[in-house]
């Protein structure tokens, strides 16, 4: 059973890291960035490509991939969000345009085979691959009947440290204060001299970098890198996590991530897979009835 708790914590960290980025954009910009799952996928794909196709060691590859994902966040902002905001389009338009970008990102990877336009990025089409063995040292520890893989420990520590750093930045720094001001009231923030567009762009950068990181950690832990890992593994679950935690709340997303990991694993152990997915979403449903604002969410403001 303890082994299963460990399993839950590891997958929970990835859900949490993914959801933190998701919820950050929602909190600040008031739009759901549905391209986030595609950036998650690209984080894994770019790292894999740098390691397996271009011969880079894992760590620099991972750092480059995370930065590239951050830049993709800027792309999302400039292509899918800002033009619509300029036109005062309703949030649903931004939702749709990010879905469009997500589809394009997935299609680029899915269609890439050797010799094609994106052959330098990906050569395996729809196939699932994994990092070459030995790319990351992965010692296995055995502690009193428990098995812990080195990479999973790395993942846990990376996620926790990053989430703490992000929490600190948002709570205690000038940038963080600006961010919260924009989230609170865009117009008032503008009047106070905050460059709202710049805040939006940096939010997208940070959010997407975290999403990409979550993706590459997932690829590492689950030995699964394919064009579909974002769509299949985290897109809906990420939404569930941020609803559980409270839309726009970062501690909520972290707690929601671990909670979903635990619920999934225990439902699987207790009831089997038919029920597992159902239990996770039943928990979500229950939350919506009992506490619609989520664990940490502020009560929903009325919108006109």
């Amino acid at each position: 059973m303890t082994q299963q708790v460990l399993n839950a914590i590891f997958i929970g960290s990835i859900y949490a890291l993914f959801a933190v980025g998701y919820t950050l954009v929602f909190g600040v910009l008031d739009v759901l960035n549905l391209a986030h799952s595609a950036v998650f996928m690209l984080g894994a794909v770019i790292t894999y490509s740098l390691v397996a196709l271009h011969g880079l060691p894992f760590l620099p590859a991972a750092i480059i991939a995370v930065l590239v994902c951050g830049l993709l966040g800027l792309l999302i902002e400039f292509v899918a969000l800002r033009p619509l905001r300029r036109r005062n389009a309703p949030p649903i338009s931004a939702l749709i345009s990010t879905i469009g970008l997500a589809l394009i990102f997935v299609a680029i990877v899915e269609q890439a085979t050797p010799g094609t336009l994106f052959g330098w990025l990906w050569q395996d089409g729809a196939n699932s691959v994994r990092f070459p063995s030995g790319a990351v040292p992965n010692p296995t520890y055995h502690l009193g009947g428990l098995t812990v893989e080195g990479v999973r420990l790395d993942i846990l520590m990376t996620s926790v440290v990053l989430m703490l750093v992000l929490g600190y930045v948002i709570r205690f720094t000038q940038v963080g204060r600006a961010l919260r001001a924009v989230a609170e009231n865009r117009r008032a923030a503008t009047l106070l001299g905050i460059n709202v567009d710049r805040i939006f762009a940096s939010t997208l950068f940070v959010s997407s970098a975290l999403g990409g990181l979550a993706g590459l950690l997932f690829g590492l832990a689950a030995s699964d890198i394919s064009p579909y890992i974002g769509r299949d593994q985290v897109e809906l679950k990420g939404l569930a996590v941020i609803v559980l935690g409270g839309m726009g709340s970062i501690p909520g997303a972290v707690l929601g991530g671990y909670l979903l990991g635990l619920i999934e694993v225990f439902a699987f152990v207790q009831f089997g897979s038919n029920v597992a997915a159902g239990v996770a979403f039943a928990a979500l449903f229950l939350m919506l009835i009992v506490r619609p604002q989520g664990l940490f969410g502020a009560r929903l403001r009325e919108r006109l």
């Binding site: 196939n127 699932s128 994994r130 098995t147 030995s223 394919s226 694993v265």
Partner: protein, 401 residues
């Protein structure tokens, strides 16, 4: 109205047949099709979960079409193959099939890649009376009854892919004779027909070989992290882990199980039999055993030629799915050659092709090939082991009973 239309069709068909008869002097089986085109359609999973298999099938088919066309075609007619992706989705698969059939001029269909999609596509082909040859579907009831809603044999559905009902028990039998395992756990994806069917076959087979199935652990093919089902399986401490699943999942399960310290044997089904899975599993997969329809290093001419041509065209090794796709085109070409096609009566030509398919008897990369009376495969089973490098080694050869 309806019978009137049919009457006219029959009259037309007779008239056309008469014309054909008077203009053809060569007669016999080798009617010349010079200048004609034999149009075929393939529904394959090039993307999505089945994207591990579909592209291989396509490469095999393309190679066979090219080879046949370059050596004079089928009695002079060119083969043309229209391949469409169904994204591994059952609904999309049926839509693609419908579109292909409604274009009106194709003589036969190939596919779909996944048994799950075949459930939707095969009845469609049957009702439109279009011969369809499955090239990779190995689930239960693909032939002869093509599932729903009827239980009477489908007339137009064939398959050249070795069924799991043959492959899995053969594999278990070979392994038991060698290693005498006592206990096993089954890991099965339960939201996919192919995987579920494989699980059912394992469950029904292990008893007769004295293996106690300690647990059956079902999981969704969309499971994010396979650590959970694997932990559950290892707690039972089994000698053998049976895996019936597809795509990259068997590889992920094996990696996870080895990481968690499993030292026993993996036995699987058709989901193991592709280079992609063997490569992804890597060292974790060494010795994983499955029954296969085909083996790379077989040296009989029909395989050696295929492997040679494939390596020349694609600079990589073929896998079982490529071999089955290649064989499917050979089978259709052979049937077309003997079917006395008219090329002006699609419905009639489809029937003639169907009839000729029943008597196919040719050499393929899988060995000598014939259909059984229920349109299933009659062929040798090659029991193979993953080699840890993306390939397989041959363990045993089991001839059809």
């Amino acid at each position: 109205m309806r019978s009137g239309a049919r009457g006219i069709t029959i009259v037309l068909a007779l008239a056309l047949a008469a014309c054909g008869g008077s203009s053809t002097t060569s007669g016999g089986a080798s009617t010349s099709y010079q200048g004609k085109t034999i149009q075929l359609g393939a529904i394959l999973s090039l993307t999505g979960a089945g994207g591990v298999y579909g592209p291989s099938s396509k490469k095999g088919m393309d190679l066979a079409v090219e080879t046949i066309n370059n050596s004079g075609g089928v009695n002079g007619a060119k083969l043309a193959l229209d391949t469409r992706d169904d994204a591994s989705d059952k609904i999309q698969s049926a839509q693609v099939a419908q579109t292909l059939i409604q274009q009106g001029n194709l003589l036969a269909l190939l596919g779909p890649t996944l048994s799950n999609s075949a459930v939707a596509v095969h009845p469609l082909a049957e009702s439109f009376k279009v011969p369809i040859l499955a090239v990779s579907t190995t689930g239960i009831h693909i032939v002869p009854d093509c599932n729903f809603p009827k239980t009477d044999p489908c007339r137009y559905v064939f398959r050249d892919s070795l069924g799991e009902e043959t492959a899995i028990p053969t594999n278990i039998k070979i392994y038991v004779a060698k290693a005498h395992p006592k206990t096993g756990v089954l890991l099965v994806a339960n939201d996919d027909k192919f995987s579920r069917d494989g699980g059912t076959i394992v469950t029904n087979t292990v008893g007769q070989y004295g293996i106690q199935l300690l647990d059956t652990i079902a999981f969704s093919k969309l499971t994010a992290d396979f650590a959970t089902p694997v932990t559950k399986a290892l707690q039972k401490n089994p000698d053998v882990i049976f895996i019936t699943s597809l795509g990259g999942i068997p590889a992920k399960l094996m990696i996870e199980a080895r990481n968690q310290g499993f030292k026993g044997q993996f036995l699987g089904g058709n989901g193991f039999n592709t280079a992609v899975v063997s490569k992804q599993a890597g060292a974790a997969g060494v010795g994983a055993e499955s029954g296969s329809a085909w083996y790379l290093d077989n040296t009989f001419p029909s395989n050696a030629e295929f492997v040679h041509a494939y390596r020349n065209k694609y600079t990589s090794d073929p896998d079982q799915f490529a071999a089955q796709g290649y064989a499917a085109i050979l089978i259709l070409a052979d049937a077309a050659k003997r079917a006395n096609l008219t090329f002006n009566d699609v419905a009639g030509d489809r029937n003639r092709l169907r009839d000729a398919m029943e008597t196919v008897n040719i050499q393929t990369p899988m060995g000598p090939f014939q259909f059984t009376s229920t349109h299933d495969v009659k062929q040798t089973v090659w029991v193979i082991l993953m080699d840890g490098k993306g390939g397989f080694n041959l363990l045993a050869t089991v001839s059809p009973s």
